[in-house]
C-alpha cells in the first residue's frame, strides 16, 4: 500500500477539536497552529485592537506516505476518496513522511500536492520528513509541522531529520514494548460521574470508582478503568494511542472509543452488555472482550 490514511480519525474530529479547544489539548494527529499573520504594527497609535494572536489546536487528517511512487499513490488515494468524497472536500490534510523507507526516491511534492488538490483536499503541511524532504516541501509552500510539539510523550519517535524512517515503520506495526512514561499524569475519581459531566486525563490513565451515568463522558490519552457500570461514554487513547484500553465492570455504554475507533451502544452485542469487559484495538478494529 502506498498511502494510508492514519487513524487521525475525523470520525471524532468534531468532538476532539471541541475538547482541544476546551482543554488546550494537542494530539498526535493534530497540528498546533499559531496565527502569526497579523503583526500589530498599529500598537501605540490605534487604541482598539483589531487583531488578536491566539494559539489553537486542530485535528487534521494525516496522509501517511509509504512509498514515493506517485502513480500508485494516485491510484490508491483515488480509491479511498471515492468511498467518501464529501469527507475530503476542502479538508486540510497533513502528509506524514516518517514511514517512507530509508533511501526512497525523492517525494515529488508538486505531483502530490496537485493530486491532493485534485481530490478537493487542501494540503497544509508535512511532518516526519528529513532535511531534504522538508526543503522540497517548503518549495511547495507546505508547512513543516513540528513533530516534537505534537508528539505523544509515551511514543518512542525517531527524530525526523537525523534518522531514517524505517524503524518508525516497524514501531508502527509492532506492539510497542518500550514505553517510557514521561510526564504522564494519573487521575483517580472516587465519586459517580453524572450526566453532563466530563472528565479528561491528559497524557495518562483515568480510573473511576463508581458508576458513569448515561450522558457523562470520560476521556483519557491513556487507559480508562471503571470500577462500576459504564453507562455514558468512554474514550481512551484520545491522542491517537492505539494501545490504550478501556476496562469496566459492566458495559452499558452509549459509546466507547479507542484512538478514535468507536462503537455506539446499538453496535454492542447484547451478550457483551452488562458484563465486565475490556475494549481495545486489534489491527485497527475495535474489539470488546469479556473479562
Amino acid at each position: 500500500m502506498a498511502a494510508r490514511l492514519m487513524p487521525g480519525n475525523r470520525y471524532f474530529a468534531w468532538l476532539r477539536s471541541g475538547i482541544s479547544m476546551l482543554l488546550g489539548h494537542r494530539d498526535r494527529g493534530s497540528t498546533k497552529t499559531k496565527s502569526m499573520t497579523a503583526k500589530s504594527e498599529s500598537e501605540g497609535n490605534a487604541p482598539s485592537a483589531v487583531v488578536e494572536l491566539k494559539a489553537a489546536a486542530f485535528t487534521l487528517p494525516v496522509i501517511r506516505l509509504l512509498d514515493t511512487d506517485m502513480d500508485t499513490v494516485a491510484e490508491q488515494l483515488g480509491a479511498k476518496v471515492d468511498q467518501a468524497p464529501e469527507f475530503f472536500r476542502n479538508a486540510p490534510v497533513v502528509v506524514d513522511l516518517s514511514a517512507l523507507p530509508a533511501g526512497a526516491d525523492e517525494v515529488q511534492f508538486p505531483l502530490l500536492v496537485g493530486l491532493l488538490r485534485g481530490h478537493g483536499m487542501i494540503p497544509v503541511g508535512v511532518r516526519g520528513g528529513n532535511a531534504s524532504q522538508n526543503r522540497a516541501a517548503e518549495v511547495m509552500e507546505l508547512a513543516i509541522m513540528s513533530e516534537t510539539a505534537t508528539r505523544n510523550p509515551r511514543q518512542v519517535t525517531t527524530k525526523p531529520a537525523s534518522k531514517p524512517a524505517a524503524p518508525a515503520q516497524t514501531a508502527e506495526r509492532l506492539p510497542e514494548t518500550t514505553k517510557p512514561v514521561t510526564g504522564g499524569s494519573f487521575k483517580l475519581i472516587t465519586h459517580p460521574i453524572r450526566s453532563g459531566q466530563r472528565v479528561y486525563t491528559r497524557e495518562g490513565d483515568l480510573s473511576v470508582v463508581g458508576p458513569i451515568s448515561s450522558g457523562a463522558e470520560l476521556m483519557a490519552d491513556g487507559n480508562i478503568h471503571i470500577y462500576g457500570p459504564l453507562r455514558g461514554r468512554a474514550m481512551a487513547g484520545m491522542n491517537g494511542d492505539t494501545q490504550a484500553r478501556i476496562f469496566c465492570q459492566s458495559l452499558e455504554a452509549e459509546l466507547v472509543s479507542v484512538a478514535g475507533r468507536y462503537r455506539v451502544s446499538e453496535n454492542i452485542p447484547t451478550t457483551l452488555r452488562g458484563v465486565p469487559v475490556q475494549i481495545f484495538l486489534d489491527q485497527e478494529v475495535l474489539r470488546i472482550e469479556k473479562l
Partner: protein, 269 residues
C-alpha cells in the same frame, strides 16, 4: 448558623414545591426555626402550597434589592410559629437573583433560623443554580421514570461542580434522593422504574419514597402542606422523610402493592 437545604430536581412537576413545603413544615413542627424560600421567580407556587398567597406583600426580590427588610417579607405560618415563608416575585425576572443578593439574604436568614429550605425552580438555568449555590444539603426529587432520573443525575453533576462548597473546596453538599409519585402497582406492571433501578442509576442516600396519592393534590388545592395530613400515606411518608433527614433510621414504607382484600374493597379504606 442555619443548615441550607435545596430541594431540586432538574425536571419540572416532580414535586419540588410539595416537598419543600412538607420538609419545612416537618422541621418546624419538631421545633426548629425554619424558613422556606421560593426561588421560582416569575412562576411562584410555594405561597399557594403553603396557603399564604393572600398575605404576600413583599418578596424575595424586594429584599435583595433593598426595597423591603427581611422581616417585612417573611410570612409567618398560621399553623406553626416556627415556620416562615419567603415568597418569590411573580413579576420580576430571574436575573434579579444575583449571587451576592441571594448570598446576603441567606446569610441574614442563617443568623436567626435553624434551617433554610430553598425551593428550586425546574431546569438548570439561573434560578436553579442560584437556589443550590449556597446549599449545605440537597434533596433531589425524582419520579420513577427515565427522563426524571436522567435530569436528576444531571442536577447532581451540577451540584458537585457549581456550588459554593465545590468552588471553595469545602466538604461537598450532602445529597439525598427522594422518590416521589411512586406507584407500586405500576412498578409491578413494569410501567415505572422500581426503587432499586433508580437507586442503581443515581446511587444516593434514599431519604424517602412518597407514594402517588390523591392526598397530595387535595392538600395543594387546599393550601395545606401534605405532611399535615397524617391520615394519608403521602403525609406519613413525608413525616418519615423528615425524621430520616434528622438522623432517625426508619424502614421505607409504601413500597409494596397493597392487596385489595374483600374487607378493604368493601370499606374503600
Amino acid at each position: 448558623m442555619a443548615r441550607i437545604i435545596v430541594i431540586t430536581s432538574g425536571k419540572g412537576g416532580v414535586g419540588k414545591t410539595t416537598t419543600s413545603a412538607a420538609l419545612a413544615m416537618g422541621l418546624a413542627q419538631r421545633g426548629s426555626r425554619t424558613a422556606v424560600v421560593d426561588f421560582d421567580v416569575g412562576l411562584r407556587n410555594l405561597d399557594l402550597i403553603m396557603g399564604c398567597e393572600r398575605r404576600v406583600v413583599y418578596d424575595f426580590i424586594n429584599v435583595i434589592n433593598g426595597e423591603a427588610s427581611l422581616n417585612q417579607a417573611l410570612i409567618r405560618d398560621r399553623r406553626c410559629d416556627d415556620l416562615f415563608v419567603l415568597p418569590a416575585s411573580q413579576t420580576r425576572d430571574k436575573e434579579a437573583l444575583t449571587k451576592e443578593g441571594v448570598g446576603k439574604v441567606l446569610d441574614d436568614l442563617s443568623q436567626t433560623f435553624d434551617y433554610v429550605v430553598c425551593d428550586s425552580p425546574a431546569g438548570i438555568e439561573h434560578g436553579a443554580t442560584m437556589a443550590m449555590y449556597y446549599a449545605d444539603d440537597a434533596v433531589v426529587v425524582t419520579n420513577p421514570e427515565v427522563s426524571s432520573v436522567r435530569d436528576s443525575d444531571r442536577m447532581l453533576g451540577i451540584l458537585a461542580s457549581k456550588s459554593r462548597r465545590a468552588e471553595t473546596g469545602n466538604e461537598p453538599i450532602r445529597e439525598y434522593l427522594l422518590l416521589t409519585r411512586y406507584s407500586p402497582e405500576r412498578v409491578a406492571n413494569g410501567e415505572m422504574l422500581g426503587l432499586e433501578d433508580v437507586q442503581e442509576i443515581l446511587s444516593l442516600d434514599l431519604l424517602g419514597v412518597i407514594p402517588e396519592s390523591m392526598s397530595v393534590l387535595n392538600a395543594s388545592n387546599a393550601g395545606i402542606p401534605v405532611i399535615l395530613d397524617s391520615e394519608s400515606d403521602a403525609g406519613q411518608a413525608y413525616g418519615d422523610m423528615v425524621a430520616r433527614y434528622l438522623g432517625e433510621e426508619l424502614p421505607h414504607r409504601f413500597l409494596e402493592v397493597r392487596k385489595k382484600g374483600l374487607f378493604s374493597r368493601f370499606f374503600k379504606e
